[in-house]
Each structure stands twice: as C-alpha cells, then as structure tokens.
Symmetry: C2
Subunit: 635 residues, 2 copies
C-alpha cells in the first residue's frame, strides 16, 4: 500500500500515512487536536479543515456549501487521504467554561446521621505488633494477621503489593502502624476485610473518599472526609469527551472506531483526575489518602469509563455489557487516587436508565416516598421514574439536544452570553431577557428557548401548533430563511452584531423534545394505571432542572399541570446519591435493591408511546383538559 | 558531583557515570553482563576486570594476587570509579548446561487417582446463553450469570478484563461459549467461583497447568494437562539468578542493593518463562490456555519471585516477609501464561525451611508415614524433617557449598567433566573414577568428593580426623600448597592438563558440611526424645540425593547408620509435591495443614547443636558406636 505525506498548517507538522487514512486519523498521528462534537459522523461540520494542496477524497460534504468547497474546505472525519496533501487546520473553537459549580458552596453537609465506625466500609486502624525474636520468628504477614485477629479482624486479605512493602514499613515504624482496611463490598458483602495499605505510625487522621458523577456534558467530583462524612469541597468541569461527540450516540459511534474506545476512556479519566488534583491541592490532601471512590453516570458513560465497548447500547435490543459492574481498583480504573482504593460504580437499570438515575432516586427521596412521586432528569435524554417506596417504573425518552441549546438556529449551551430567560409583553410582544454573565447575548440556551416559546404562546404570538402569527404587525415577526421568525435581540444589542431569532424549526425541535418527555410520563402512568394528576411530588434533577422555570415548563406542556408546590428542584441528584453511596453500606444496599426492583419500559417496543408522543406535539397538548391552569390562562 | 566516562573493551561501549559508581553498576548501565556468583561481596573473584587506563579505587582486593594487581585486575563489584577509565572485560565463563533433566522421561504419570471434576479447582465449562431480545434486554453480564446459575454456579466473580471482551465474544460466538472458572482458592476456600476467561465456542479441550520448582541452582517446570492430570512434559534450566549469586545469602545481599531485587525477580521469571515457552512450543500448547500455576522454592526463592525483599531472612531473628503468600495472578507475578491464571505459591515453614520442603514432605509420603521417618533435602543448605503422619519437626543446617563442588580446590558443579564417583584400591590406593559425560575430567563434584573421602577413609588413607597419611609411600600422596594432598587424576588424564587433587582444606569443608547435617538429625531426634537408630525410613530428596551413594554417605557419617533398605532416593520431591498441589485441592489443604503443624527448630538458638556439630566433625563420628556397620568395615 502506498504511503503519503501530509503537512498540516500552520504548525508545519507532517506525518506519513497509508492510502485510505482519514484526515482525523492523520491529525491524531500528528498530535493535533480537532473537535468532533458529532463523534466523526460528518453531521456537525465542526472538524472542517482547508485543503491547500493535494486532492483527498471527500466522502461526504453535506455540511459544506458550494462556497466552502470552492474555498477548499473538507470535513476531516469524512475525508480520505489518497496522495500527498497540505492541509490548513483552522483555529479551534474553544469550549467556554461554565463557572457555576465552582462558585456555589463548596462544602456539602452530611445528608443523614453518619457514624464512621458503623456506616463506612473503609477504616484506618492503629495496630501495635510485637517485635520478632529468635523465640518468635513468625513471618511479617502472620504477625500482622495475629495482631489484627486480636482486634477481631480475622482472615484479612493482604494483596501482594502491601506484602512487598510490609517488612520495611513495620521495621521503620518500629512495629507501630496504621492499617487501612475495606470491609464489605458489593462483590463480597460477607467476605473478609481487605487491607488497602499498611502505613508507618499513626495515620488514621487522613481517610478520604471521592464521589464522582460523570455527566455526558459535565463531570462533578465531591471530596469527602470519610471520618466526618462531610463533603469538604467539590468541583466540576466539562467532560473531556465532548470534543469527540456532544451526545451519547455520537460517543458510542466514536468508540466503535479505531482507538476511539481507549481515547474516550482516557479523556474522561483525564477530566476526573484533573478535578481530583484541583480538589486535593486546594484542600491540602494527599491523593494517596483517598481510599474509596463511588461513581455514577449514564450507562454509556460508565461503560466508557471502564473501557467497555458500548456499541450494543445503541442497537436494538439495546443491551449493555453490564448494569452493575463489580468494584474495580483505582489502578485498574485509571484513577489517580490510592491505587488499591476500590471504585464502586453504582448500578444502573438499562442501557438508557443508568446509575445516575438510581443515584438520583436515592438522593431525591423517591425511594422512601409514601405518595405517588415522579422523578425526572432532563438533559439530552429524559429519564423518568414513577413510583413510591413500594414500586418503581422507569423509562427513557430521547428528547434530542434542544434543551441543551443544540439543533437550534441561535442555540448555545447555558454558558456566558446565553439568553436564559425571556419575558414577552402581552400587548406589544416586545421581549425582555436575562443573559448568563450579565453581558451582551450571543445566543439562546435551553431554558431561554423554553421560556420564550411559553411566553409567545401565552401572549398569543404562537398558536397551539407552534406557528408564529405573521399578522401581528410588528417588525420582530418577519419572514426568515426558514419561514416566519421572531427576533429576540436585534444585532445592535448582541455580542456578535447579528440578530438572535427564533424560527419554526426551533419551535418544532422544542415541541418534539417536550412531547417525548411528556409521552414518557403518560406511558409510565398508564402502565401502572394511575393518572398524572394524582402525582403528589414532581422531583426534578439534573443541571437542566436547576434553570427550569416550572410555570413555563407547564405552559408548553413539558411538565404535568399539578399545583406548583408539588414541584421540587433538587440540582445534581446523581452526585448527591453517589455521595450517599460513598458514605454508607446501607445506602449502597438500598440503591442495589432499588435498581433490581425498578421495572424498565422500553419505549421503542411500546405502541402507546407513539400515540402519546403525537398527542403531545402541541402547545401544551391536544387534550387541553390535561392542562387546566394553562387553559384558564390562555383563554 | 563530577561525571566520568568509562569505556569498556572489547565492545567499545562507553557510559558516563558520577563519581563513586561501582564498576558493576557502570557495566549494568552499559548493558554488559558480568557474572557475580557471590552477589557482589568481593568473595568469589569471578567479576574480575582489567583496568587499561585510569585509576579507579579498589575497595577490596582479597581475591587478587600481587601478580593480578600488577596486571591491572580489579574486582568489578569492589571497585569505585573516581575518574575516567578504560576497562577490559574478559570473556565470561559460560555456565555449562546439564542436560540430565531434559534427557530423562518427559512424561510423569499422575501420582494419585485423579478426577478432573472432583479434584481440580480450574474447570472449563460449555455454556449456552439465550440471545437478547426487546422483551429480554438483560445486560450481558447478568445474562451470563443467569446461565451459570442454572448450572449451579452462583455469584461468580467476573473481573473487569473479562467483562471488557464479553459482549464481543458472546455475539461473535452466537451465545455459545466456554467459561473457564477457578473454584476454591486458599485465600477463599468457600468463596464464589471466579471467571478466568470466557472463550468463544467450545474450548474445553485445552485446560493446562504448570508446576514450577525454583531451586537456587535449577528451575524445573512440569506442563500438566489438567483434564487427565498427566504431566505430559517437563524441562529444567539453571536459575538465571546464578550469575548474581550462587547461594541464597549472596542473592539476598544482591537484592538489598540498588535495583538488585527487581533484577533477581526478572531473572527467575525469565528462566521460568523460557521453560514454559520451550514446553508449550514442543507440545503445541497455547500458553494462554495455562490457567493455573503452582510454585515452590525455598523461602528466599519465593520472596525473590514475588518481588519481596528477603533481607530480614538473613539477619537474626530470621523472619521472612511471608511463609504462605496469597495466590497472585500470573500477570502480577510476571508469568507468561494466561494473565488471570492464579499462581499458588506453596506454604513454607520458616526462613530456611521453605515451600520446597513442605512440597517434598507431601510427595515423599512422610506426611502419611506410620513409622518414624527422616526426610532430607541436601543442597547448599540441608533441610531436615523428622516425624510421622502425626507430628513433624524440622530444622535447616547451613552445610556450605561443599556438596555442590564449591569451596573445594578442584571442585566443580555436577556437570560434564566432573568426577562423580571414585573407587580406591585397598592395597595400592590407586583410584578409579567415573566422569559425567564420559569425557576427560575437569574437576570433582560433590558426590565425587564424598565418595573419594569415604574410600580414602575406608582404605585407611585418611584418619578419623580427615588427615591424609603421608607415609603411604605412593606418589599420589604428596605435599601441596595447602598441605598434604591426594592426586585423583594426573594432568595427562585431565581435560586441562593439570592434576586434579584432594587437599586437607577440601576434606575439612566436607567434614563441616556433613557434620552440620548430621548434627541437625541429632538435634531433631533429641528434641522429641527418639534415637536415630529407630528411624524406619530415610527419604532423600533434592538433586544431590539423585547422585548420592548411600553406602559412602554413611561411611563419612553424613547419613545415619541404618540398614540400606530403609533409604529411598526420591529425586526432585519439591516439584513432585508442587505437581500434586497443582492437581488437587486436597493436596493443597494437606500441605497447608502440614506447614502449620510442623515445629521448626532454630539451630542458631539451640545450644545442643554446636555440641552435636563438634562431635560430628570426624570420620564418621567421635562416637563410633553410632556407626556400627562402618566400625566393622573400618576395622
């Protein structure tokens, strides 16, 4: 096979690759990082490069215009090298940091009465050994076992790496050591304790843990003092996988190609390790004293974290490799904490109802609710759980990315410059809006879109089908490229000088997203024969929930029309549940039992879902009687 | 600190090292291998090099003559670089291969009635899974667990690496797989089975194990078909650590310096892996189908194999890191078999009574003996066990290297060219001898020395004190550099043209060696109040035993004077016991119980030992009444 030389500008780095190599592969070989938010499917257009010399074959150009092509543009993920080439890599768009999490309170109080000695499976105990003599030449390991047995700790497991340093440590510490042990684990609840480490002298003061939540978008880590149970600090950061796919499907596709699985694993581990480093540095904690980690995420995220190929999650019958992995050592998991710390990956229920949801159900209180309770976590996917302490049903709806500001003409993430809330004047249809970071707007994020559509609907500018009334006689409603559009912000007010508009396409995207969620509620309720109006509590988790205006969400028909006092916004319920699981064996037992008893409904195998979805593709719904408070307001 | 350049001849390789670097360290940095049989103590003189330029500091020159020093010789392990230097590395003496083991029968029959399904802890079972569907989207791991549970295999442990490949293998094999499991282990005799691997299709035909014996000198490996129990082949090789110390003490010293511990570990793992490769290639076995290893060796050897620092073994109170290590995975142990095969390191008793002895006691039958039985394994150290099936006492005697042909003027290992047996004419004192490999003699090995001393004593040429009678009037007895000597072979007969002689120094070395062993017998017998004459069986293990002439050994007072039919030579009892432990959980339980019940006597803490030793420093003993058959012959 022929080899070709590719020179990348402006860096001038060149690589030699065989015929048929994708430009993205050549870029990786050259060590140049190019974002692929769609995971290399050729759908997002963000990996566009400019061919300066040579004639590589463009397999797909759907995201490129004639003008782009004439200028030499090509999608790196869709372009195959068949000869020498010189390629210019445009400067990459930087993902802006959302600083919210680090600005909020760092300390989280223990969510339940916590007793180190009773609840915690990791403990550090001081042990004094008798020094050996000619009359007692017992080997070091047996000597330690003997001392531990006297404290009631029998048949402990002593891994080889501990034995390797044992002799030296015992002697250097003059037979006075701290033994860090892990008691029951999921894999062996009644098994013998396992020694994590033997440390010289008294080191029982520093016993740390981390609770990790891997979101598709954001990774959050709590640093927890296992003696007090307090989360002394927390930090969040974008998941490093974003550059290789914005949603789980893009990531699954990316993972199925070449070294994609390995790369995505390294990226998320890199994000977690950077957060752990940030937390340990600013709290003066030695990362080697972190002896336990609990971790949640949706099923694709836990698969990628553990290096499990998630491809079967994407294809019917949607079977994951594992819903509840066995605990794995930090060394095997690639976490930069104590290498023999165990990492408990919390149990999920199905391919699209992961550990983030079971953790959320635990921390939200649904698992102990007396009355009918609805729990939702809305992001790219909407996961829904309905039930009480006695029973739980769950499903997942693919809402699409509208709630995250993607697939929307002027959409953006909820970062600095995003319009996050809009009010529309009932008479003039003039908008007022709030921008994240109190700066000039750049676009509109999910919550802004939702609030804008609700306002336009309630003021009468949008009809039940989501169509703009073009006869309002105001310049803000005009004919745009995609049909009628509403100007939220004129170019003079915006950061980039261009108008920020809402189009029919955007409204339709939002309608599909909210219809999918609402249809999910309906299917769950029907499956157990209850009415949504009977729901006593609606618990809303996830980052989207944090910014959601419940009034507007009900007005567009995303949330069921129950009295407002029944709604509660709980923030990141996943990391809170993970934090609980880190602290207590009882919480872990609860989450495991819950994951096992939860009934999962696969909507793609459910005929009632499509009917419910179609009925919900209106503002707020075809059946207005389901939304009495909205009907009243609208009239 | 200043850096210096050292050029090594004849290769011309040069390295730059800081002031104070030992020549051996510089050689290692340059990638040049120089043997250090004494472990770098400056005692053996085998690492001598010639300084051609520069003036490195010789810390010790005890092994070098004035002539050597004038010629520029220096001991690499004792010479420190303090400036630039040019050093000639003489051609290294090659360790000659002893081909004995590979020449003998390769196949070893199963030593007891063996039933794969009953005795073996590793088993491969065929499993058929139901393919997933939308109505049964159980995750891959739970699906496998469900199928195994139906076969009565509950709560199996499934390590992450198995889960990582599970999905792909299940689908590629259309849900028809072979699951390789390990049942009870020492660490968890009642624990759940652990999955070693899941293989596509039916692969239950290839289930292999290896039994490994790490001798200080020789490493032996048996390749075992775990279904039939048969050792289909075996191979042996010098332990790669020999170049860094001939005896355990030299190795312990070498391990305590710099990267010595790591190097010795790598060397012995390298030897084992080369033997496994040889065995698997010539038997067309895939090393990845070796799912279990059992391993024995003396305590220092098992420590070095596992990367445990053995330094405390050498110093009072002689405490090892561990007598019975927990099973370790082949990957962690560095063995080139299935990475998740468990490696059972058999239990030892004390620093100088290791797993080789417990394995030997098992295979020798002593553990089931009705009558009083003596088991000995003689090498550099003599390990002795006395007892019956009900009780066992043991001790170790430092015999020194005389039995291995070292520390003897014309001594050599039992390899090609060694005189291994000698007969002396009662009237003429003329010797007849047998040479290993039927070639011209180069020296005399341990068994040759023993037989020569016995013959000279019985014929009257040596007195009870081991002194040569100088008035025999034959040219073979003459005055040598070290006092009176006996010429075994004239230069005209020998390989190198020099006379092969026996000196007083050699006789004294042998007397000390045999006295240490015999004193050990005495102390053990006294400790339990029995007489050596009551011993019903003397079981002799170890490679030395293979070549030992029992008549001569009794004549010099090494072995107790009991009727010859009570002696049995069992060969490598250690590897045979390891083979049994590989095959059966019952054998493992037996060896563990035995190691725990064996009473170890530390001779250095025992006053009676020195008295017994002193009394035994004669031919055959001060108390001739203990050797009635010899007394009769001698008179």
């Amino acid at each position: 096979m022929a080899n070709h030389t590719v020179v990348f500008q402006p860096s001038g780095v060149s690589v030699t690759v065989p015929t048929g190599t994708l430009v993205t592969e050549a870029l990786r070989a050259a060590g140049i990082d190019v974002a692929q938010p769609c995971g290399g499917q050729g759908r997002c257009g963000r990996c566009a490069v400019i061919v300066r010399a040579g004639n590589p074959r463009r397999r797909s150009t759907i995201r490129l215009t004639e003008v782009d092509l004439a200028a030499g543009y090509a999608l790196a993920c869709q372009t195959v090298l068949e000869g020498d080439a010189t390629i210019l890599v445009p400067e990459q768009e930087q993902i802006e940091r959302r600083l919210a999490t680090d600005k909020t309170a760092r300390r989280v109080e223990v969510p339940f009465p916590y007793l180190y000695a009773r609840d915690q499976s990791v403990r550090a105990v001081g042990v004094t050994l008798e020094p050996p003599s000619l009359g007692d030449a017992t080997d070091d390991v047996s000597r330690l076992r003997r001392a531990l047995a006297r404290m009631g700790l029998k048949d402990v497991e002593l891994p080889l790496p501990v034995v390797r340093t044992l002799g030296e440590r015992l002697r250097a510490a003059e037979w006075q050591v701290t033994v860090v042990l892990e008691f029951d684990t999921w894999a062996r609840p009644d098994g013998p304790p396992r020694v994590i480490d033997v440390l010289p002298g008294d080191q029982g003061e520093a016993v740390w843990g981390v609770a990790i939540d891997i979101g598709t978008t954001t990774v959050t880590v709590f640093l927890v003092d296992l003696r007090t149970g307090q989360a002394v600090d927390n930090a969040a950061e974008y998941n490093g996988q974003i550059a290789r796919g914005e949603d789980v499907i893009s990531r699954i596709l990316y993972a199925s190609k070449g070294s994609g699985l390995q790369e995505l694993g390294e990226r998320v581990r890199g994000t977690i390790n950077a957060l752990v480093e940030r937390l340990t540095q600013r709290n003066h904690v030695d990362p080697a004293t972190i002896y336990k980690a609990a971790l949640a995420g949706n099923t694709t995220m836990t698969h990628l974290f553990l290096g499990l190929q998630p491809s079967s999650i994407r294809l019917a019958p949607y079977v994951p490799a594992v819903n509840h992995p066995e605990p794995v050592s930090a060394a095997d998991a690639g976490l930069a904490i104590h290498p023999r710390a165990s990492v408990d990956v919390l149990p999920g229920v199905a391919s699209y109802v992961g550990a983030d949801i079971t953790a959320g159900v635990l921390s939200s209180g649904l698992a102990e609710a007396e009355g009918l309770t609805l729990f939702i976590d809305v992001g790219t996917n909407g996961e829904i759980v309905l039930g009480t302490k006695d029973w739980l049903v769950t499903c997942a709806c693919s809402a699409g990315p509208a709630f995250e500001g993607a697939g929307v003409v002027c959409g953006m993430r909820a970062t600095r410059g995003a319009i996050e809330e809009v009010w529309v004047n009932t008479h003039t249809y003039e908008p007022t809006y709030r921008v994240i970071g109190e700066t000039k707007p750049k676009g509109i994020c999910g919550s802004g879109l939702l609030s804008l559509v609700a306002e336009l609907f309630i003021t009468g500018a949008l009809d039940k089908g989501g169509n703009l009334k073009v006869d309002l006689g105001i310049p803000r409603v005009r004919q745009g490229e995609h049909g009628p559009e509403y100007v939220v912000a004129w170019g003079a007010e915006t950061d980039h000088g261009r108008d920020i508009v809402l189009t029919k396409v955007d409204v339709d995207n939002l309608l599909r997203a909210k219809a999918a969620i609402y249809a999910g509620f309906n299917v769950l309720a029907q499956s157990v024969g209850v009415d949504l109006a009977q729901v006593e509590q609606v618990l809303i988790g996830g980052s989207f929930g944090k910014y959601l205006n419940v009034e507007k969400a009900v007005q567009i028909g995303l949330l069921p029309d129950v009295p407002w006092e029944r709604f509660a916004f709980l923030g990141n319920t996943s990391v809170l549940g993970t934090y609980m699981a880190l602290l207590s064996r009882e919480a872990r037992a609860q989450i495991k039992a819950m994951a096992e008893k939860m009934t999962y409904l696969e909507l793609s195998a459910d005929n009632t879902f499509y009917d419910a979805f179609t009925s919900a593709l209106f503002l707020p719904h075809t059946d207005m009687s389901k939304f009495p408070s909205v009907a009243k307001l609208w009239e």
